[in-house]
Assembly symmetry: C2
Homo-oligomer: 354 residues x 2
């Protein structure tokens, strides 16, 4: 059976302000020394498993030209433009309906565009296992990440019995508090929810129809119109009418017959500026420093310099990110509060900085 | 007797980098909300005591135009240009010799250009007392600041018996360690050395002749040439030949007959970026924030913003100073290390940033 990949690239990446902007979010940035952007890496690492012509990018209409520029080898008709932001469930329904127009059935992998994978061979082998499990039934398969510490920023997957390397999912749980996360870790029965899914078109369409019939109806209309002159009009009409819904809440938490494949392949969701020191090489003082920077006596500090000189003197656990029109200076404990800066900028009508 | 003031304005203000630069050091900057520069404030606060035509500015030749621009009311011939940096003793000898050409004798106050005074009336009264004491003999008078805490960054003056409000100076001591500073404070017999001096021309010239005869000889030649066509040539020849010497070491630590007038007038030497929160009004989170800044959850933090937005997120005890071509991010414990940034810039040949 044909294997296809759908890369979700509609996010705003607000926690990576000031580099990530409305006009160029995180997935289109390079945060590693090799220079590739996050979405370029995402596509490259899939090529051992999927033909480039079977890779689909779903993104906001505003980012179509960024995708085309960064990924010229992806067929133009595979770049699916959401006319509005409606979270992951409508995104997946849209992509599934479009691909279903092309193939009676196929395996569809759904992958984020802004994560990093350290061990790509293991990643590919994990996906292959998931594809095999998905092909065998009308199930939904999710990649669960073997947890390394009691992270409170991720959702968890509670799994049960094993069958051919796949584990039955008992339930999805929201971000836990620390004692709960510690219990999960100690139990050995929980994985991190990575947001990577594998299923047949027939399986996901059936689940959408049962669990989100309103969205199913619109998605089918969009799929039917794909490739016709009416497509754009139908897409705008149906997609903008969708309610916002996450795939986790709309489908995964309610569906039966879900399996998880545990993966341990150096996954990093690159969730905040804290990730930069994890995904790059630090110096002997545990600093990660790039660009036009002089550091004097700083430790455990991340500085992403720009054109102007940044002098970092006597700092500890500080993150500095310089851009042409804004510089962020943030304590490592407060990386989630970068969103509050954006909220203040919006309130002040300073949209050029958002 | 005529009272004159000599304002020493040749410093580099390296600890105020990146605002203070070789091309425009600290004394020519405004560090307070009123917009006046340090040297403008210094001149203004003297006017109740000295005629503007009796105020002399000694500065590096490179800063003559800055002085003329910021202090247009000072007579051009009162701006004395040092052809080289030779510390405070040659600076004072130069000024004394020049003023001595004009007056047989006069009182000469020597004052830094980059300190702040909170209580200007008390300051003027303290100087008046010093002038009175200086007029009465061949002594040297220094203003000692009543210490408020065991500061280890200042020199101290150990004083003895009182006579008409002036205290005999027993000795000058270098910057002490903390236990010593605590002892000084507890003894009640020590004042901070403020670097403000008052004496008659005849008194200081006599001391220079006795204690630094080499410098005396050159200074007399410079004074003799003042106002003649040969002045510039003589100044360059004699001044550049001076050794570097501080007034504290060259004169004050060796002279007899020194008195101190204790002063308590809200003196601040504005010695580092730490001073900014002392000399300005802070907010309810003890932040001092000016310019283009968004602060989220920061405390005890100083941000001097520039053109670009600075976002300060979750910071504590951090100082940020933005300029067009460089931004400083410094922990409050490390403000003395700003000089090390300048040293590194010089090593790297990046003199445009120094």
């Amino acid at each position: 059976m044909k294997t296809t990949a759908v890369i979700m690239a509609g996010g705003r990446g607000e926690r990576f302000w000031p580099k990530s902007r409305n006009s160029c979010p995180k997935q289109f940035l390079s945060l590693t020394a090799d220079g590739d952007t996050m979405i370029q890496k995402t596509v490259k690492r899939l090529l051992p498993l999927v033909d480039i012509s079977d890779i689909y990018i779903v993104t906001n209409a505003a980012y179509i030209s960024l995708v085309a520029e960064q990924l010229p080898e992806i067929p133009k008709e595979n770049i699916l433009a959401e006319p509005a932001a409606r979270n992951t469930a409508p995104c997946i329904a849209f992509a599934a309906a479009v691909i279903n127009k092309k193939y009676d059935d196929a395996v569809m992998m759904v992958l984020p565009s802004d994560h990093l994978i350290g061990l790509e061979d293991i990643y590919i082998n994990t996906l292959k296992k998931a594809v095999k499990v998905a092909e065998q039934g009308q199930n939904l398969v999710t990649i669960g990440i073997t947890p390394e510490y009691p992270e409170t920023g991720y959702g968890y997957i509670n799994f049960g019995g094993e069958q051919d390397g796949a584990y039955k999912v008992e339930r999805f749980v929201e971000k836990p508090d620390l004692p709960t996360a510690e219990k999960y870790l100690a139990s050995g029965k929980y994985l991190w929810n990575s947001g990577m899914f594998v299923w047949k078109l027939s399986s996901i369409m059936k689940n959408i129809q049962e669990l989100m019939p309103d969205i199913y109806e619109g998605a089918v209309k969009i799929g039917d119109a794909f490739g016709t002159p009416q497509f754009s009009d139908v897409l705008i009409k149906e997609f903008t009418a969708f309610r916002s819904e996450s795939v986790d809440f709309g489908i995964m938490e309610k569906a039966a017959d879900i399996y998880t494949i545990p993966g341990s392949f150096g996954w990093d969701d690159v969730g905040s500026w804290l990730a930069v020191e994890r995904i790059n090489k630090t110096d002997s003082d545990k600093n990660y420093i790039e660009g036009n920077v002089i550091s004097v006596g700083s430790e455990h500090t991340t500085v992403c310099g720009g054109k102007r000189l940044i002098a970092a003197v006597g700092l500890e656990d500080i993150i500095i990110v310089d851009t042409d029109d804004a510089v962020l200076v943030c304590s490592k404990n407060s990386t989630q509060d970068v969103k509050k800066v954006i909220a203040q900028l919006k309130e002040q009508g300073r949209n050029d900085l958002v």
